[in-house]
Symmetry: C2
Subunit: 141 residues, 2 copies
DNA sequence: CAGGATCCGGTCCGATACTG
DNA sequence: CAGTATCGGACCGGATCCTG
């Protein structure tokens, strides 16, 4: 019949099933949107910063810790995360105003879910770098 | 879904450790780049399409299956994925030319790693929608 | 202190035309 | 068939100024 790749067809088919059940809908609908959102440069970073502290963080503190982000984008990011229920925003009607951001259980769980992926990526960083090097040197002829 | 409010500090600290070990480097360095890359709208989609077939796919086939993508962006995406060693590109010097794309073991494993995350997202889609609704209706006063 | 409003340069993306 | 090249528009993010 058809030539198969390096893996056994069963493995692929098995993966396919899971993917069709779990990822397919996410891909073509709203989950894809979420994947993109959290996978941007800043959102995960912000969640990570909030996770490092067991207490809520003020806007300024987050701004300090997520170095490189502009105030505008940080505000946008925080709004998005709040909208998706990943963080909570608490406004203290003081003067000067004070706003605390904290991870929600949902946001916490999301980090837990993403963690193994992050670990896997770091573990295979060498493979990625090698692949890139091969590709680049191959094209630079 | 677990309905725990503010988690115990120990849990957070525990998470922190893992995050610091696994995600921190990825965040601030190259892994972050990879996270963003694969999490874009198309890359994962392309990988997913390739995973559905146990045989390599031609450019046209991929283009058909990843509906909505332009030819230009598809080319870019495929190049990226190839550069990162997630897919393989095989050129047959025919006329008309023929190019086959297939998942590499690395790309295959990446999908396996991402799957549980995708599943978790779909499982909690309701929570996300609810959070968004709450947020939107709260602001629309 | 937190963040809204504005301007503006860089980037991304789609459509089109063209090549091996 | 599988791209590359180019152009114009949309969008994104940064810097600055201003408000409660």
């Amino acid at each position: 019949m058809e030539a198969k790749t390096t893996d056994e067809p069963e493995e692929i088919a098995d993966l396919c099933e899971d993917l069709c059940e779990g990822l397919a809908e996410a891909q073509e609908n709203l989950g894809c949107e979420l994947m993109e959102r959290i996978a941007g440069k800043w959102p995960l970073w912000v969640l990570y910063v909030l996770a490092q502290n067991d207490e809520p963080l003020r806007f300024s503190r987050v701004h300090e810790r997520v170095e490189g982000i502009s105030q505008k984008v940080l505000t946008q990011t925080l709004r998005q995360l709040e909208r998706d229920g990943l963080i909570s925003r608490t406004l203290y009607p003081q003067v000067p105003p004070r706003v605390d951001y904290a991870l929600t259980p949902l946001g916490h769980e999301l980090l837990v879910q993403i963690m193994p992926l992050g670990r896997w990526i770091t573990d295979h960083m060498g493979a990625f770098e090698a692949a890139r090097h091969d590709f680049d040197s191959g094209k630079a002829k």
